[in-house]
């Protein structure tokens, strides 16, 4: 179960708070931050790219995911340019997450952005492309779908964990990169309690069954407790995601014990802010 990636997702509604959350997530060792809404046209591309550009300036290695709702055709070139800037500014850490409920929609969105980078043909025959283009030869692209059939063969997908749970054929994700989007507030995450360790262990075993490669936790940066949640994710969930099923009980128990003891401690070995 090693190599499973831990991602947090924030909205760009408060750009400064989102950037602070990203800095904290990187300090905590979280692998990736997605910026943007979860689905639909409410996602605001200008705020998403602005927030990611800011994150690029103040972080070094955390991956930066742009969650983009449907982009109006007249805005695609602007968005492609801004995404190119983010990838350049971050040294190639950009990822695209495109919410879509149908395969055609996903393919159209992804292709529109890729075409803008490759160059579009004007009516007079000239070919004009967005610059700068991304540093990465291919920007990792994930479809955020409400059911797993969308973007068949796209190579990556993200489905809500409730969907994955209901799918006996979840194993057919074997050949693709699958991320699981956690519900907004699993109770063990919203308010960690004595059964949280068991919940985390169960999650890891479930992810192993799904052959998932990433798990995404939405974080409300407006909430007073989001820092503690990031801490819990980093201290308990992250090591668990790297553990094999035979050792995950012990790893989680140890991590939880350390988490409790360090919280009681009057000092921190590794100050986090």
């Amino acid at each position: 179960m090693s190599g499973l990636r831990l991602t947090v997702q924030v909205t760009p509604d408060d750009a400064r708070a989102a950037v602070e959350a990203g800095k904290l997530a990187e300090m905590r060792g979280i692998d990736s931050i997605w910026v943007g809404g979860t689905a639909g046209p409410g996602s605001d591309s200008a705020k998403v790219t602005m927030t990611l550009a800011a994150l690029a300036a103040v972080t070094d290695h955390i991956r930066l995911g742009a969650v983009l709702g449907p982009v109006a055709s007249e805005h695609v070139m602007f968005v492609a340019e801004e995404l190119g800037v983010v990838d350049q500014a971050s040294g190639g850490r950009l990822e695209l997450i495109l919410p879509s409920d149908d395969q055609d929609g996903f393919v159209q969105q992804a292709d529109a952005i890729r075409r803008a980078w490759a160059g579009v043909r004007l009516e007079d025959g000239r070919v004009v492309g967005a610059t700068p283009t991304p540093v990465q030869p291919q920007v990792p692209t994930t479809v955020l779908a409400s059911e797993p059939g969308v973007a068949e063969g796209s190579g990556s997908r993200c489905v809500p964990i409730e969907v994955a749970r209901e799918l006996p054929e979840a194993a057919r994700f074997y050949d693709t990169r699958t991320a699981l989007l956690m519900p907004e507030s699993p109770d063990w995450f919203e308010a960690p309690h004595e059964d949280s360790a068991k919940a985390v262990v169960d999650l890891v075993r479930e992810l192993e069954h799904c052959r998932a490669t990433e798990v995404v936790f939405p974080i409300d940066v407006g909430s007073a407790s989001y820092r503690e949640k990031l801490g819990f994710l980093a201290a308990i969930v992250h090591p668990a995601l790297g553990a094999s099923s035979y050792e995950v009980d012990l790893v989680v128990a140890d991590a939880l014990s350390w988490y409790d003891r360090s919280a009681d401690s009057s000092f921190e070995l590794a100050p986090l802010s």
Binding site: M50, T51, M77, V85, T131
Partner: protein, 333 residues
């Protein structure tokens, strides 16, 4: 009126504002005069603007061009967000953003995000633009660009998206400065504006038409290249660099090279533009800038970052401008 009394008030002719000194232009490009691949210009930009902040400059600025092979920054607001996040106190601004290319419905949320990232630190400089390929690709009518810009500004003002944001206008024509005045905005004069007497004339036109804008203290800005260099040999090399960068830049002013102006025109343009660069001992640069200050300029955007320059040269210039030029400009008032 004293400065204290005028703070927060609307424009008032005759105000003497303290001189501000900013730096430009972080356009993140890397062309044939200094080839490099990858994100180096962005990494260098962070170090350079952080140095500018430490050295006490008031602002750093970015411009806008699209579809350029050298990666010239196409997204000035996004770049401002990047630079604002890398700094804490220095202002960031656009000089200029080609507003007619943009949909105000996308500009407004970007400004809102900038306001969150850098409260009170963003200055919006706008201009008409001129490159046909940019207007064609974005399906905008080049001939209507003045009208489009005013419609965009009106929409942004009406929505409150520009509340608390300094508004600046670039341009070289009388019409541009009359427009700036009507909106109560500050003006940004390019180096091609000419000698201090030309600045004085443009300032007069602007002042004669100036309308008040709540919260804005209108300023007269001038941007030009300033490279302090005592050594004559190095100064000559910098002059050569400026000429070549202007030659490269001049492609934006001509049509498609296949269809447009001849090489001779571009050489002449490059030579003419490069002649405006102030390159030499700091005292000589300061003297030249003070002449513009006497003509009414109260905001300087000095220009140590021009195209593909080595970052060490840029940082040396920032250091020298901070210690040997900026203090004299500020003490002029």
């Amino acid at each position: 009126m004293t400065l204290a009394a005028s703070h927060g008030a609307v424009a008032s002719r005759g105000d003497t504002l303290p001189v501000e000194v900013g730096l430009g232009f972080w356009n993140m490009q890397r062309g044939y005069t200094g080839p490099a691949t990858g994100p180096a210009p962005y990494r260098e930009a962070v170090r350079e603007v952080q140095l500018a902040e430490q050295m006490g400059f008031d602002s750093v600025w970015v411009a806008e061009h699209h579809f350029s092979y050298d990666g010239y920054g196409p997204s000035p607001l996004t770049s401002c967000g990047f630079l604002a996040a890398a700094t804490e106190t220095i202002s960031v601004g656009t000089c200029i953003m080609v507003l007619p290319l943009h949909d105000p419905a996308r500009v407004a949320p970007a400004l809102e995000a900038l306001g969150s990232l850098a409260p009170g630190r963003f200055k919006l400089g706008v201009g008409l633009g001129y490159r046909e390929v940019e207007f064609t690709t974005f399906d905008r009518n080049l001939k209507r660009r003045a009208r489009i810009m005013e419609e965009s500004l009106d929409a942004l003002l009406e929505s409150g998206a520009l509340d608390g944001i300094e508004l600046w206008f670039g341009g070289v024509s009388e019409a541009a400065f009359v427009r700036a005045a009507r909106y109560g905005g500050s003006i940004l004069l390019p180096p091609q504006i000419g000698p201090p007497s030309a600045v004085e004339a443009m300032k007069g036109i602007w002042e004669a038409n100036l309308q008040p804008r709540a919260g804005q203290r209108p300023r007269v800005g001038l941007f030009l290249q300033a490279w302090p260099e005592r050594d004559a040999g190095r100064a000559a090399a910098l002059r050569q660099h400026a000429t070549e960068e202007w030659r490269s830049y001049s492609r934006f002013f001509v049509e498609d090279p296949v269809l447009g102006a001849s090489g001779a025109d571009r050489d002449e343009m490059a030579s003419q533009f490069a002649s405006t660069a102030m390159i030499g001992p700091s005292a000589q640069i300061t003297e030249g800038l003070l002449a513009y200050e006497a003509a009414g300029v109260d905001s300087f955007i000095l220009w140590p970052r021009f195209g593909s320059m080595a970052s060490t040269v840029v940082r040396d210039s920032i250091d020298e401008l901070a210690s040997e030029v900026a203090p004299y400009l500020r003490s002029a008032r």
